[in-house]
Amino acid sequence: MSSSSKNIIKIQSLNKVYGSDFEALKGVNLDIRRGEVLALLGPNGAGKTTLISAICGIVRPSSGVITVDGHDIQRNFRITRSLIGLVPQELTTDSFETVWNTVSFSRGLFGKEPCPDHIEAVLRSLSLWDKKDNMLRTLSGGMKRRVLIAKALSHEPRILFLDEPTAGVDVSLRKDMWKIVEDLKTQGVTIILTTHYIEEAEEIADRIGVINHGKLILIEEKNALMSKLGKKQLLLELTKPLDNIPSEFQNFDLVLSEDQHLLTYTFDSASESHDISEFLIKIQSHSIQYKDLRTKQSSLEEIFVTLVQEAEGDKEGVITAE
């Protein structure tokens, strides 16, 4: 339970039942590593926000244990909550407060002595400094989002939850957001974010978790995930159209394009690479000429869609078996 242990958050058999029978989380086990950026993906209603709310104390777990830095979130809520900053999914702000007041309020609420220097630094880093005396209702949606981030950072948290930080945010602000995450990571802050933009997870996350129907169906290093599940494709642009794929190639997963000019070979990037050289030698021996050659790796998005579909398939399997 030392504060230097590898995992900063431990979640064991977490269940959440809303009302009398809606199971939003079903036996979630998850260890979040100190200093990592973890992206949680999952379709609408999967339970991402519920999971975050349970850790932060907004939603009461129905059963299960959550510890933050070795402390139980219910028994030692003062310690665990002061370590956490939360940027909620919904844009909720007090319209008539100024930026400066609302951010200072957050710091006080989290039990920290006033520190105008810190608030100033946070506002400057989020490009909100010249808006500090503006009322919140005069800010644009993107600025309000930043104010929520400033509020979450006002008390110097060691863990930051960002629930869809880039929903409805333009490209440049999204890039800013990624930069902020990167800076916080270098300061050693553990970051958990949810997103529907897979390229975002691909860009900034160290690990990726996928939630569907209240279950954590996958948690994996991003790179390992990409190479493990990722399919690679070798595309050959042929000099002359090919009538059909020679039968010697039946062991290879090949597709010939309609116009007979593009040959696509799909292979598993995790398996040995001699497959490709073998393939290219075969191409050579059949005197198939090509003018260009490129490879393509499947994106997280494709991986994600496949995963969720598989999970749906499993579920259906269970239903028909009953």
Binding site: Y18, S53, C56, G57, I58, V59, R60, F77, R78, I79, T80, R81, S82, I84, L86, P88, E90, T92, T93, D94, F96, E97, N101, S104, F105, S106, R107, G108, L109, F110, G111, K112, E113, P114, K151
Partner: protein
């Protein structure tokens, strides 16, 4: 104890009052003056004295009580209802602050505001009549306890309410009638005996009576009974709040 958290909530709530300074101060001055003009001048010219006190002076404790009750309830209920309504309550729920500290911040601010208002009303009354307060410390104690207990009640109301209508229905349809029927502007001795008995079932009567005793040493019921009434009410409210936070009622899903 998260003292900075309590201060943050307190200041935040007081800042709301500062934003509406004119409304907060001018409104009670105008209403109090109206009461004096209407009740004091119109009725007071017919009723010279009530139990040895001029009619104008007689209604002062009632006016103070009316303002204390309605303002404590509406301040505290709006204070907690609004974050719930706008969604900003997420921050309080995720902060390292205990239920009782939250209550201290909200109820402390609401009660402070009503005490300030009560003082403004007293000062306004002083313009129309000569104020006489025999037991100032007891008077302040009554004002303070009433403000606190009814702010607690307002806090509960704000948590219970899930729309604006419920929020305003209690002060206007429950509290105001009780104050008017509770001997604020007349002595129950002026009523027929049967109504005197019914009036004794009105809790507000005990508050008004106690406060009036601290002014003029005249009362409908013993002043100690009045004090215990407020004490019991405060404890009841605290108990309900403790239950609310233990069960997460209407705050945590």
């Amino acid at each position: 104890m998260n003292i900075y958290g309590v201060i943050a909530i307190f200041n935040y709530e007081m800042a709301r009052m500062k934003r509406t300074l004119i409304q907060s101060i001018v409104a009670p001055v105008v209403t109090t003056s109206l009461y004096f003009v209407v009740f004091g001048a119109a009725i007071g010219s017919r009723i010279q004295q009530v139990e040895g006190v001029s009619y104008g002076a007689f209604i002062v404790p009632g006016l103070v009580m009316l303002s204390l009750l309605t303002n404590s309830i509406s301040n505290a209920s709006f204070g907690i209802y609004f974050p719930k309504f706008s969604g900003t309550v997420y921050e309080m729920l995720s902060a390292p602050i205990s239920a009782m500290e939250v209550v201290l911040g909200y109820v402390g601010a609401a009660a402070t505001k009503s005490v300030i208002l009560a003082m403004i009303i007293l000062a306004t009354a002083g313009v129309f009549i000569e104020l006489e307060i025999r037991h100032p410390v007891l008077m302040l104690l009554f004002v303070f306890l009433t403000a606190t207990s009814f702010s607690l009640f307002g806090f509960i109301l704000g948590i219970w309410a899930d729309n604006f209508e419920k929020l305003s229905v209690v002060p206007t349809l429950l509290i105001t009638p009780l104050v008017f029927l509770g001997g604020s502007f007349y002595s129950t001795e002026m009523l027929p005996p049967i109504w005197q008995t019914i009036a004794l079932m009105n809790p507000v009567l005990y508050l008004v009576s106690g406060l009036r005793w601290s002014f003029y040493e005249i009362s409908e019921v013993n002043v100690l009974v009045s004090l215990s009434c407020i004490g019991v009410f405060t404890c009841l409210c605290l108990l309900v709040i403790a239950i609310i936070f233990r069960t997460g009622y209407r705050l945590r899903a």
